[in-house]
């Protein structure tokens, strides 16, 4: 009887919590326990694979919104949001010209939580803006200066990748907006010097007298679109780039970017 009483008294939430925290399972997962002491708080930062991207301690100024605008973090979070919603959208979207457009209509009309498309699209736009603003802030605080020169360079590539991700994604709904935006955008490739058939120097690249190397079916634009106009092949190319190619590269560079932030002294501040 008394044993039962003991048992019951142990069932109070506090005691239960304590018991759980003492259990082997809990300790195997959360090495440190509830980070209530400063020591534990540091250990948490060191012990967690995600959190250890951050140093244990940061400059006060470095966490001020006024200073960082949080734009880098927002950009990364938007990238995660886009990955997640993009994954869901891939279940419903077929990158063929027959179905691309009607699948988007279905997402709007019928698919439960088709709002994922809205989140994906607006998130993508927001990411373009936030990445610009991140660059703007980094410049204005002079944070590209040594020792962060290389990381600035990585950041510039990431910015370009962000624009390319957005650009490739722009085509996928296969509506007039998409097709003509990509047509206008990709038409510029036609004018690539030497590599585009309307670019300067292209008609100098000939075999013998009059066998052109660069024609409308063998130039930079053709390589980009897989055809002479924005069609089925362009859709597939852009889809693969959008869903696999570019995110992989961006993910890899992001890892470098974050690692270099740590290596180069964390969030910048006056020396």
């Amino acid at each position: 009887m008394s044993q039962l009483k003991d048992l019951l008294s142990n069932l109070s939430p506090a005691k239960l919590g304590e018991a759980i925290q003492k259990s082997q399972i809990y300790r195997s997962v959360f090495r440190v326990g509830v980070p209530v002491s400063d020591r534990k708080r540091m250990l948490v930062m060191l012990g967690n694979v995600f959190l250890h991207l951050h140093p244990v301690k940061v400059r006060k100024s470095g966490i001020r919104l006024r200073f960082t605008w949080c734009m880098g973090g927002i950009t990364f979070f938007l990238f995660l949001v886009l990955t997640f919603t993009g994954l869901l959208l891939m279940f419903y979207y077929r990158p063929t010209i027959e179905y691309a457009y009607v699948d988007i209509i279905d997402l709007r009309e019928q698919v439960p939580l088709g709002i994922m498309r809205e989140i994906h699209r607006w998130g993508a736009h927001a990411m373009v803006i936030s990445v610009w603003l991140h660059m703007f802030r980094v410049f204005m605080t002079g944070s590209y200066k040594p020792p962060r020169e290389f990381n600035w360079g990585v950041g510039v590539i990431l910015l370009v990748l962000t624009l390319l991700l957005s650009f490739t994604g722009y085509l996928l709904p296969w509506d007039q907006l998409a097709m003509w935006a990509i047509t206008v955008g990709s038409n510029m490739a036609r004018a690539t010097p030497f590599a585009g058939y309307e670019g300067p120097g292209a008609n100098l690249l000939t075999l013998g007298e009059n066998i052109p190397l660069i024609s409308s079916t063998s130039d930079a634009r053709f390589a980009l679109l897989g055809g002479t106009r924005v069609g089925e092949m362009a859709l597939l190319r852009f889809y693969v780039l959008h869903c696999v190619g570019l995110p992989l590269v961006a993910g890899f560079l992001m890892a470098v970017h974050f690692w270099r932030i740590r290596r180069d002294g964390g969030i910048s501040g006056p020396l």
Binding site: V34, P35, V36, S37, D38, R39, K57, K60, I63, R64, I97, E98, Y99, Y101, V102, I105, D106, R108, E109, Q110, P112, L113, G114, I115, D175, Q176
Partner: protein
């Protein structure tokens, strides 16, 4: 560092040193923390709450779609309706009968109770038997299974190891004996159970029978009650079924869709199968009982033609957007592309549904007054489409006004130019008349079909007057100079009488295609087919009596390509008609004279033509050297080319010229940005553009500054609003959507070709075919004198007879009471065959070989004679040599012709209910709702009587073939 507080509280910082700097900068001076935990918690709490709210909002917003409201409403109404039906069914129950049965059941129950002991003994016996049966049967089945294995072992051994097979055979055979024993046991038990059940039934059977009888009386009400429970299983169950996430299993609210693999949503350059989701909201569309339900639940108003499973266009095969257009996959009111029919509806929709026009929708729904345009997707021929009057009017207009002369249009490639041959203009008209005619054809007669090229909205100003007159003069002179006049075959005999001529024109059938002056509206039927031939008003001011005489006497002799049939007029009749037509003059017209040619204006036009291909200076020099004659010829030829006169008229030298108008193969899919709206303030839609263009083809030159030769050239046809609407319907209906041939399998080439020919020859001017036409009837007051309806022509007449009749209609007089006559159309073999096939195809009648041999009995023939006499057919119908004693006008068709003219099975249908086949016919019915009104013969047996009628008609009166008895 070591100070730990529970709840993750902040270590109390040391008291901050006084701020050294501008406090506005808010520089924290507190130790190793920037924020307080409570502050962060507060922010976190607020943001989390917001996130929760927004997440809920998102799910609700995503879930709460418009269509759910309709589905809930529909379920609610269905429950209400079923409840009303149930009440009605309950009210209709014969309560007395139910009560009587209940009493009997009670009595039976009492009797059962009296025998309770025996009953229970029988029941327990039955139970024991059932138990025994179960175990015995199981033993039998197991033994069978063992035997199958042993038999296989034996067979296998025989094949592979014959020496050792014998023992196995013994084993299997022993087993077989066991099995037979088992089977016997089982069967014995089955019999025992059956007997016991019968015994039991003798006690309780009566009660059960009575009960099921009583259930039968209330069955309808009970079923409806169950239906209500199925429809509405209660709030909680419905809620669980339709809850977000859970609704992936078996929701009652769901998006309904019709998938159409063969009908495509026509995206540019590719075809996507349609997925019509319209029935998600239009839930009662296929249920005739819901015809008065409010939208969106209303049943389709024409389930006999559309949507209904038995209609020619069933929902599962054709969907909705194939005809209605709109976005097939949308389930939201505006996005689906609903388009209001009028401003009132638009206001109501905006109020009720927040309606807006989705400008990104390529094919918004067609408003009701333009829905017929969709028929053109499948009904691609040039003939009429049943039940589409406006569309047919449009097609008639295109055919009669000859749009295809200048514009390439599908379906009209082989049709000849609509205007008269101008290579013989000199023998028919005089130049003064032609000039005045060109200047304003409708001043000559309001119904003129020739469009107006000059003095229109873009060349009607005073500055154009001299120029227009010069152009008209040049064209006229040019045409006459090229005319090769053959002498007329005969001169008109004297003595033509105007009165007799008028009577002839009004009675022989001219008015099926022609009218004299404006055509009065007739609410009973359309009149546009009477515009097929030229309006006869003012004819006397145009052509001479000689010409008219030759024309009406034998049109083909004057113009071999004419559509005008031969009315088989005698010479005297032709003279009368010519006299009458000559008397129809237009004195105002004759009083006016055409202005003299202004040579300066002519020079200006001539110069335009000379300038093409040479410089301005060269042109000036060339002009200076030309005579007036040469100028006129140059200009005339140039103008014929510029205005494309050869599109409608045969003009020498232009026989193979290319049409000058815009191609109209898919005008309904022409992209909006390819239309030039100019500065016209109209809505930028295809329909509006076409409507404006048809109402005034030059309207888009308004406010434009152009040189004369750049002006729009399409002439003004003077269409009224209705005509404009009809043509716009055709234009918007010719879309690029491709329908696969198998979707048109009911619409055979025979039907399309026949409809085309019927339209081309204007058969419907006089006859009603497929329920439409017979425009001439408006001019004939007495229904009895109307030309025959051809509604069941294919089922009615024998192919051979029809074929020869169509080619030589003058051979025999079928209906002596009619003054209108079937003209000779000079149909060739092929055309007569087309019509024969067509009539047979629409009635699903065999063609061309049919069996007219009649199997009969002598009794039937006798009965036929009696019936024939009783019904006094001979009172009106001539029958062979029996001629009724009546005026020819009161006679009915000669029954002597029936055997070679009619199909036997049709005769039976006809006698059974003449009004059903030819509403308004004089032929009386002798069968009311299928019940014979002629009792006493064949015991009043309707089918027998009908056969007897037929037999008499074909075998006794006519010389039909009697089938061999077998």
């Amino acid at each position: 560092m070591s100070s730990e507080t529970p709840n993750g509280g902040t270590p109390k910082p040391a008291i901050p040193p006084p701020a050294k700097k501008d406090p506005a900068l808010n520089i924290s001076q507190r130790g190793d923390r920037l924020y307080t935990d409570n502050g962060l918690h507060k922010w976190f709490a607020i943001s989390s709450l917001l996130l929760f709210v927004f997440t809920v909002w998102m799910i609700v917003d995503d879930y709460n779609r418009e269509w759910r409201r309709y589905q809930r409403g529909f379920t609610r109404l269905s429950v209400l309706q079923t409840e009303l039906d149930r009440q009605a069914a309950a009210g209709a129950i014969d309560v007395a009968a139910v009560n009587a049965l209940s009493a009997e059941i009670e009595a039976a129950r009492v009797r059962i109770a009296e025998n309770a002991a025996t009953l229970s003994e029988v029941e327990s016996r039955l139970e024991a038997l059932n138990d025994e049966f179960y175990s015995t049967n199981q033993a039998y089945l197991f033994a069978r299974a063992e035997y199958d294995v042993e038999r296989y072992d034996y067979e296998e051994a025989v094949a592979n190891d014959p020496e050792n097979a014998e023992p196995l055979r013994v084993i299997a055979e022993n087993r077989l004996a066991d099995i037979n024993q088992n089977l016997e046991d089982v069967e014995r038990l089955q019999i025992a159970i059956e007997e016991t059940t019968t015994e039991l039934d003798s006690y309780i059977g009566e009660r059960d029978r009575l009960s099921s009888e009583r259930d039968g009386l209330v069955a309808e009400a009970t079923q409806l009650e169950a239906a209500i429970v199925t429809l509405d299983p209660g709030l909680i169950r419905t809620s669980i079924r339709n809850a977000p996430i859970l609704d992936f299993m078996n929701p009652s609210e769901t998006v309904n869709q019709i998938q159409l693999q063969n009908l495509h949503y026509d995206a540019p350059f590719l075809q996507v199968p349609r997925v019509d989701r319209c029935t998600t909201c239009h839930l009662g569309i296929n249920d005739a009982a819901k015809d008065e339900w409010q939208q969106p639940f209303t049943a389709h108003p024409r389930l006999d033609v559309f949507v209904g499973a038995d209609s020619p266009h069933p929902m599962d095969g054709f969907g909705c957007t194939t005809c209605h257009a709109g976005l097939d996959r949308a389930v939201e009111f505006s996005r689906a592309g609903h388009v209001p029919d009028n401003a009132e509806q638009q206001a109501a929709w905006e109020d009720q549904y927040g309606w807006y026009l989705d400008h990104f929708l390529e094919t918004p729904m067609l408003p009701m007054d333009r829905i017929e345009a969709s028929c053109l997707k499948c009904h691609t021929g040039a003939g009429d489409v049943p039940e589409a009057p406006a569309l047919n009017m449009g097609r008639d207009l295109i055919r009669t006004y000859g749009c295809f002369g200048c514009h390439n249009m599908p379906g009209y490639e082989e049709v000849r130019r609509v205007g008269p041959d101008l290579t013989t203009i000199g023998g028919k008209l005089d130049p003064e008349w032609v000039k005045k005619w060109l200047a304003d054809p409708r001043a000559f007669k309001s119904e003129a079909r020739m469009p107006k090229f000059w003095f229109n909205s873009n060349n009607g100003g005073p500055e154009f007057e001299a120029r227009n007159n010069a152009e008209i003069t040049a064209i006229t002179e040019y045409l006459f100079s090229r005319s090769q006049d053959d002498p007329l075959p005969a001169a008109a005999p004297a003595g033509g009488d105007v009165g007799r001529g008028q009577a002839l024109v009004e009675s022989v059938g001219c008015l099926g295609c022609h009218a004299v002056g404006p055509i009065p509206d007739d609410p009973a039927r359309t009149q546009h087919r009477r515009r097929f031939g030229y309006n006869l008003a003012s004819q006397g001011s145009k052509t001479s009596a000689d010409w008219l005489y030759n024309w009406v006497r034998d049109p083909r002799a004057v113009w071999h390509d004419t559509n005008m049939p031969d009315m088989r007029l005698t010479d005297a009749e032709a003279a009368d008609v010519a006299a009458y037509l000559v008397s129809l003059t237009n004195p105002e017209w004759e009083a006016e004279a055409f202005p003299e040619l202004d040579e300066a204006a002519l020079d200006e036009v001539t110069l335009e033509f000379l300038r093409t291909g040479s410089t301005g200076i060269q042109a000036q020099e060339a002009l200076a050297e030309m005579t007036l004659e040469e100028k006129i010829m140059t200009t005339g030829e140039g103008l014929v080319a510029r205005y494309g006169c050869f599109g409608c008229h045969v003009i020498e030298g232009f026989e193979t010229a290319q049409p000058i108008g815009t191609e109209l193969t898919q005008p309904g899919s022409k992209l909006l940005n390819q239309f030039d709206f100019g500065f016209l303030d109209i809505e930028h839609t295809r329909t509006e553009w076409y409507a404006a263009k048809m109402a005034d083809p030059r309207i888009f030159d308004v406010d434009r500054v152009k040189r004369p030769e750049e002006l729009l050239r399409m002439p003004d046809f003077g269409f009224d609003e209705e005509q404009v609407g009809a043509i716009v319907m055709i234009l918007t209906g010719l879309v690029k959507d491709q329908v696969t041939p198998d979707m048109r399998n009911d619409l055979t080439a025979d039907i399309e070709a026949g409809r085309g020919l019927v339209a081309q020859r204007n058969c419907r001017g006089c006859h009603e075919i497929e329920g439409a036409g017979g425009d001439i009837r408006s001019t004939i007051a007495d229904q009895g004198l109307w030309p025959p309806l051809l509604n069941t022509q294919g089922a009615k007449t024998q192919p051979m007879w029809l074929h020869s009749f169509l080619q030589e209609p003058g051979e025999e007089t079928l209906r002596p009471w009619l003054s209108a006559r079937m003209p000779t159309f000079y149909l060739d073999q092929a055309e007569a065959t087309v019509l024969g096939k067509y009539f047979s195809a629409i009635d699903n009648a065999p063609y061309p070989f049919i069996d007219t041999a009649i199997a009969t009995t002598d009794e039937s023939l006798t009965a036929g004679r009696e019936l024939f006499e009783l019904a006094q057919c001979n009172l009106c119908h001539p029958a062979g040599d029996q001629m009724p004693d009546r005026d020819a006008a009161d006679l009915a068709p000669d029954l002597g012709l029936a055997a070679e003219r009619l199909r036997p099975e049709w005769v039976e249908d006809w006698i059974l209910d003449p009004q059903a086949i030819a509403p308004g016919t004089r032929m009386p019915a002798f069968y009311i709702d299928g019940v014979s009104q002629l009792p006493g013969i064949l015991d009043g047996d309707t089918p027998g009587q009908l056969e007897a009628f037929r037999d008499h008609l074909f075998l006794t009166i006519g010389n039909g073939e009697r089938a061999e008895d077998n």
